[in-house]
Symmetry: D2
């Protein structure tokens, strides 16, 4: 039984560098939680530091979650939305900023504990570099390993999941692809550090999302979390799931079943100009549709198709599903 969640902020205002006041209005948190809870199948939300959750509002948020029957799927510390992180959080050249980045992680972990949430999702978006001759690749990667290890050691009851992204807001992120982020997770030597795949980030990294999931799960036991959205492969467009791609989501969902993934299926979009709730609901419905399609019969067919590896056969299978004949 798949557990679906949404990132709460997806229901709020959306901004970009050209329209920094935002494309929409910001609804109150209560309204956003009500909307999340009203999406059929959704039972959890992810909360982002600064934007959604702080030490100050954690009790209030806990009550609101309970009232709406929602679990906290993860807490994401804010390592990206404040001026102090502008030139890096864990990889800032300023040691006091690095200490603050760790502190934010600790705070997020405390919040997660209070909310009965088992996962801290780390997306240190400002960690990386923009220009040639700007990054000390050795020190900076090591700093991320050390900080994650410190936080994860302090909270052995929580899982820390590292979300990679090839670029944006930096032209090059420190955690850029599945395998290099697996390396960071393993370098901590801790069982409670793993990796988050954001399907859109994986597309932009040039990965096949199903292969990335299998790589982390089967070879490293490190697929801790999943963010879903769609794009045109060259940028993190954060669109409704299934709006561009179909076959690759089928392949991903098939393999998630094969490897026994039991984490959340969380929607992470940026519906700049769309109704937030409608966009998230559409994404969940798309995944539910594929989930229903992949019954035991279909999975058996797919296993045979993969074993034979003939594209004429695999594409025929897709057409059968698309056109019902």
């Amino acid at each position: 039984m798949i557990r679906y969640s949404v990132i709460l902020g997806n229901l709020g205002n959306t901004r970009d560098r050209f329209l920094s006041s935002g494309y929409k209005d910001q609804p109150p948190k209560e309204e956003m939680l009500r909307q999340a809870a009203s999406i059929p199948g959704v039972s959890g939300v992810e909360l982002v530091g600064t934007w959604d959750i702080t030490r100050q509002n954690v009790d209030e948020m806990g009550s609101l979650l309970a009232k709406n029957g929602l679990a906290c799927a993860s807490v994401l510390p804010d390592h990206f939305s404040q001026k102090r992180w502008g030139r890096g959080a864990f990889t800032s050249k300023d040691p006091s900023v690095r200490a603050q980045a760790l502190e934010e992680t600790i705070i997020a972990a405390e919040i997660a504990r209070k909310l009965g949430c088992k996962l801290v999702n780390l997306w240190p978006g400002q960690d990386g570099y923009d220009y040639p001759l700007q990054s000390d690749f050795i020190k900076e990667r090591q700093w991320t390993i050390d900080a994650v290890a410190m936080a994860a050691k302090a909270f052995p009851d929580l899982r820390f999941s590292l979300e990679y992204k090839a670029k944006e807001p930096r032209t090059h992120s420190t955690w850029a692809r599945a395998a290099d982020t697996l390396f960071v997770a393993q370098a901590t030597g801790l069982p409670n550090v793993g990796v988050t795949i954001d399907t859109g980030h994986s597309f932009v990294a040039g990965e096949n999302i199903a292969e990335a999931a299998v790589f982390l799960a089967h070879f490293g036991e490190k697929l801790f979390h999943l963010h879903f959205n769609d794009n045109y492969r060259s940028w993190d467009d954060d669109m409704i799931v299934g709006s561009v791609h179909f076959a690759e989501y089928v392949e991903l969902m098939f393999w998630l079943k094969e490897i026994g993934y039991e984490g959340w299926f969380s929607m992470d979009q940026y519906p700049y100009r769309e109704d937030g709730k409608g966009a998230l609901q559409g994404s969940v419905e798309f995944l539910q549709g594929i989930d229903a399609m992949l019954d035991e019969t279909a999975r058996g067919e797919i296993r045979g198709i993969i074993e034979r590896g003939e594209a004429v056969e695999s594409t025929a299978w897709f057409r059968k599903k698309l056109f019902r004949k």
Copy 2:
């Protein structure tokens, strides 16, 4: 009623730079024609100079076509597979090679006439450049305009369709995108010069294939021909149609109906490791499936969806078609 065709060579051997002897065996032409004719819905083939058709075998090929009940959808002069074209055909810096490129075009037109074929498809793959400071952009584009104009003027009963491709085998092609190729077509001042969209080339150019088709057809009355294949957007993988993309083919097929496109729907793939006939047939079936999906009701729905422009609604429409609910 859609007329489907295939490029004959797609049924033959396939090679690349690493495996230049080829992934498969080369069947005899008779066999390839029989296979083409046996694909349900296919009524035409495109013939490539050197590879499929020459002045010498034109009568024989005409008989074989007749015998198999196939029309010649187009003739493609060879401007790419011989050493003499290696540094350009119409844009060669050597005037005698440029003359030969024109001569090949004339020969192809004569062959087309003999076969009762109305279309000469020009894909001068070697025209372009690889390195900075290698191309005289002014002269070279003008040479292509002049050559096309000369051929098209000499054969006013035929249509000459210019096929663009952003790159490969050159890192930059002279006819790279829809709009710049429309410019070349219009610069000839001739009504019988237009443009071919190859869906895979259009993806690689970063175009939306439906928009490119509308651009050429509605704004320039210049959409003369269509080649179908699929890819992962960054390279001309020449895969089975629909193996990667779905929504964008639906959008293309919808608009082809809106603009009243009446040309061929021709399969142009490179089934390196696949059964050629199976790969082509799968592509045709995919397009037939979409064609059937786009009945008058569906087209009416889509017109409304486009008028309102809400992605929540358009993606819901796709899910309805994918999952039948």
Copy 3:
């Protein structure tokens, strides 16, 4: 003698979707103008509606420009930074928004006239679409042609230059590439409508920037304006010019001399985390360095290199310049 300018806002605060309050502080306009004027070689600024210039402050801005010895290189109406443009300006499905987009263009033209500025640069960033089945390609392109024609007809003493960009903030822009934007310019039938190349936009569109410039200038007499910045080719990173690429800027500068381009060389960057003035000055210095390199001797050498088209020779020429031997 090259005239360099900068977009004034490049000296101000920078924001993105994650850090919407901005990476830096916003200096007062007077300070930004002083900084622009202090960059050696810079004699003009481009002013953006809403951000820099409005009907209300035009006289004040005129005085400040005069005081700082700066010309107004262009006025850019704001078609992107307000909520009302969020779903398109010229291509909004709402006719009253389209009317407002035209009105903003007219206001920008009036402002330009008052400031003695000859160029209105149109970058309607919100014009385009995000999802399949969202755009009426026919109507929307036509709306942009009509609006531009109306404005340009009303101000025959000004030039209107259309700036294309393949994507962002929409996943697909209406004016996406050089040639399709040339088509729009020519469809107005007006001599005072042309095209702006932003070097970064051209890289992202997969164009060779020098070829795009020649295409517009030689074949259409429509290269009206130039914006300079650099990127890694897949996104509009808006970096310091020359930070990633070198050879292609040399090729561009060579051809700009060959075709006799006489417009502004304007810096358009987004120095998110950099000192704005330093970033712009670095870009100007890079172009000045290439300009000095391309003396009559060098240009003669390059003409020969292009005529012969040998990459071994052209790359040797670059090494001679890079390594002085």
Copy 4:
């Protein structure tokens, strides 16, 4: 002191899928070796199975190498140029093909030993997949680990270096990026298995080449070998080094010195239409130019630049080198 080598076949004929007979003529091996030896700075060659070296000609090739004063920098078993590998070598679904792939590796190792060569470079280009639902990601990656481990265990005196490439000839390669290939190398548990960076492959993978080198060398002690060529980032164009990029090669060469890389600097290009020797020599000269630029003073400057991380300063440093002021 940098040791430069070239892949011998780069001096021979070049083919692609459109011009499978080749753009040039194939010189005799003796001639190619003479040419390699005559490039100033080059002291080694890499030999490719089937194309250059077989069990049959190993003694003859050894004599020719000695005669020309060339070392064998590496042997590359052929896992890509024969029909039997068309659907995979180490990852073929046919166990007998997998056995042959291992056998070819063993043969290459024996040849390397005979030639006094310390490195076997594995580029199993046909390993991967093309379509969704075609690959068993678990089995296939494991097969590559097992085969490499078997060969490397049998030849503990040799180093086996795994060369990754995101795609081509498959749309997805099994060894696609630096970090996932490091994972394979480490999974063998053997000290004599490492990774080859091909700079062009790294560009196409979206990596920063310097960061990839540091990642493998510093974090894994696994940077065994380097192949040099240039491209436009979206495809493996295999161009002359430095023809497109400059800053990133400087960054790479700087870091190779910092991490103490002592392997070969090997040229691996595809000079389709260029004089092979001229193309390779140009690449070596480009790297020699950067090597000379990076004297102790320059490296000290760069260390400070990286420590401060200011792009205004780093780009100024590049301009100083480019324009000598």
